[in-house]
């Protein structure tokens, strides 16, 4: 099965991290990504620019509304994601718990819809 591991974190904490600390976490991310590439679980993964760069688009009554920022203020923001292939949720949870941000933020494990299996 495929799962998205959505990484939620308080951006402010990340922004105020000392440089060496930030580099250490980046290093952890790189070795984590490398390890799930090697194990064959990795499909894709990206880090996102801060929420301040986000733009929200809606179409209402056929009209496009474009606004600054995300639609809701939350304590933790979506900061990145992995798309992985795992045998089941237990394996997905085990992989998610190895993401460095699991220690400071939270990881949402979401199965991806498999349209070939919909009955």
């Amino acid at each position: 099965m495929r799962y998205v591991l959505a990484i939620y974190e308080n951006e402010k904490v990340w922004e105020t991290l000392p440089k060496d600390e930030a580099e250490r976490v980046m290093g952890e991310y790189m070795s984590f990504t490398e390890s799930i590439r090697k194990s064959g679980n990795y499909t894709a993964g990206e880090a996102l620019q801060p929420v301040a760069t986000a733009t929200t688009v809606r179409i209402r009554d056929g009209k496009r509304l474009t606004t600054d920022g995300p639609f809701a203020e939350t304590k933790e923001q979506l900061g990145g994601f992995y798309l992985i292939e795992a045998e089941n949720i237990d394996q997905a949870i085990a992989i998610a718990s190895r993401i460095p941000s699991a220690r400071t933020g939270s990881i949402e494990v979401r199965p991806v819809v498999d349209f070939t299996k919909q009955g």
């Binding site: 099965m1 799962y3 795992a86 045998e87 089941n88 949720i89 237990d90 997905a92 949870i93 085990a94 494990v109 199965p111 009955g119």
Partner: protein
């Protein structure tokens, strides 16, 4: 003499969960389909046994019926695309649910029941869903029965169960026993769910009934099941001991008028001796397995109460020491409150009151009626009756169950009689 009805009921109670556990695996983890198949099999028994007589092997009869239903289901199947798939699935069902050789009993694979137990109690499901799913699939309770036990409308409970089954399917919750490295953590989750069922039954948080005995009995069934499936797990034995030792006191805990009777006023002749004996034996077994977790400590406390012939014989010093350890191991305001009560018994009410006051100042138990109730009791023992009455009134403003309310009202009345108000 056994009637078709009683034999059927017995087979249902004893084997429903185990049969479902195997059928779920055979049907590739489809909970809903497996339940349907097994329930239809029992429904057939309900109509056929009274006419044809009780079968020689009731359980084998039900399994055979379930197998035929499962095969029918696959043949009718909409999901399966090819004939090859169908033949394979049918062959698999026929083999896995084959009747046992003549004269031998069908043995449920313990692994299947264990799979079912761990899947029902998977941490990806909400605690409410875990409880509902375990009662439904392992214990065979109907949706209506579970809804009644938890005081929610049947439609709400039905939806909760459907959602849980959907999540198992769509989120890829495996039908398996966890790997060794996750087993301890997952077993703890199973025990927590069983304990939730028990405590919900033991002290209903809301509504008119103080004890929902059925839920306690179901929790005990689950406890025995876990004990037989995980015989080397010390915490499993501890939880079973804890539940047995509490359950043994159930008849003494409720007065004829439905009111709550506290431990020190209980008629100990009403305690279930057999269950106490079983509980103490399970605690011994747990200790022999090296148990020293939170359930062990709670069971040990219950055991000390059980071993006191009269309330005044209770070894409060030991109990206070056990509560202190429990506070270290699983800190929480309710545990601390219990510790304060034990310390008051062991060393005097003023020592207990100091702990209760600390707890109150910490502000962690502001809405919990037992905090002012405990405070009132200690103040009363110290002769500070007016403060005690004020605390009882505060407890009464927070209490939610009718028997507990009556209990507090009675205590307050006793106090006012003494003071002559």
């Amino acid at each position: 003499m056994s009637t078709p009805g009683s034999t059927l009921e017995q087979t249902y109670r004893e084997d429903y969960g185990r049969i479902v556990a195997t059928v779920i695996r055979v049907l590739g983890g489809d909970f809903a389909a497996a339940e349907e198949v097994v329930q239809e099999a029992f429904a057939d028994a309900l109509t056929q046994w009274p006419r044809q007589g009780i079968p020689h092997e009731p359980r084998a009869w039900v399994i055979r019926a379930a197998r035929n239903k499962a095969v029918d289901r696959v043949r009718r199947g909409v999901r399966l695309g090819t004939r090859v798939d169908e033949l394979e699935a049918v062959a698999r069902i026929e083999q896995e649910l084959a009747p046992p050789p003549d004269g031998t009993e069908w043995q449920a694979l313990p692994d299947d029941t264990l799979r079912l137990l761990f899947t029902c109690c998977h941490p990806a499901l909400s605690p409410e869903a875990q409880v509902a799913l375990a009662l439904r699939t392992l214990c065979g309770l109907t949706t209506e029965e579970i809804a009644h036990a938890f005081l929610v409308p049947p439609a709400t409970m039905a939806q909760r169960l459907v959602r849980a089954q959907r999540k198992i399917r769509d989120a890829g919750i495996p039908y398996s026993v966890p790997e060794a490295e996750a087993l301890g953590e997952r077993t703890h989750g199973v025990l927590h769910t069983v304990y939730l069922v028990f405590s919900e039954g033991y002290a209903a948080t809301d509504g008119p009934e103080l004890l929902r005995v059925e839920l306690c009995a179901e929790a005990l069934r689950l406890g025995w099941l876990a004990r037989s499936l995980l015989p080397r797990d010390a915490e499993v034995a501890s939880l079973l001991a804890l539940m047995l030792l509490h359950h043994a006191r159930r008849r003494a805990r409720v007065a004829a008028d439905g009111g709550l009777v506290l431990l020190d006023r209980q008629d100990r002749a009403l305690w279930d001796r057999e269950e106490l004996r079983e509980g103490l034996a399970q605690l011994d077994a747990a200790l022999a397995l090296g148990a020293r977790g939170p359930y062990t400590l709670q069971a040990a406390i219950a055991a000390l109460h059980a071993q006191a012939a009269r309330a005044e014989d209770t070894d409060w010093a030991q109990i206070a020491a056990l509560y202190e350890k429990l506070c270290e191991l699983s800190p929480g305001p309710v545990v601390e409150l219990n510790r304060a009560a034990a310390v008051a018994m062991a060393r005097g009410p003023e020592h207990g009151l100091a702990l209760v006051d600390d707890l109150e100042t910490s502000g962690r138990l502001t809405d919990y009626h037992l905090l002012p109730a405990a405070r009132a009791e200690l103040l009363r023992r110290l002769g500070r009756n007016e403060e005690a009455a004020a605390s009882y009134r505060r407890a009464l403003a927070l209490v939610r169950t009718a028997p507990e309310r009556r209990f507090l009202e009675e205590r307050l009345r006793e106090l006012l009689d003494v003071t002559g108000d």
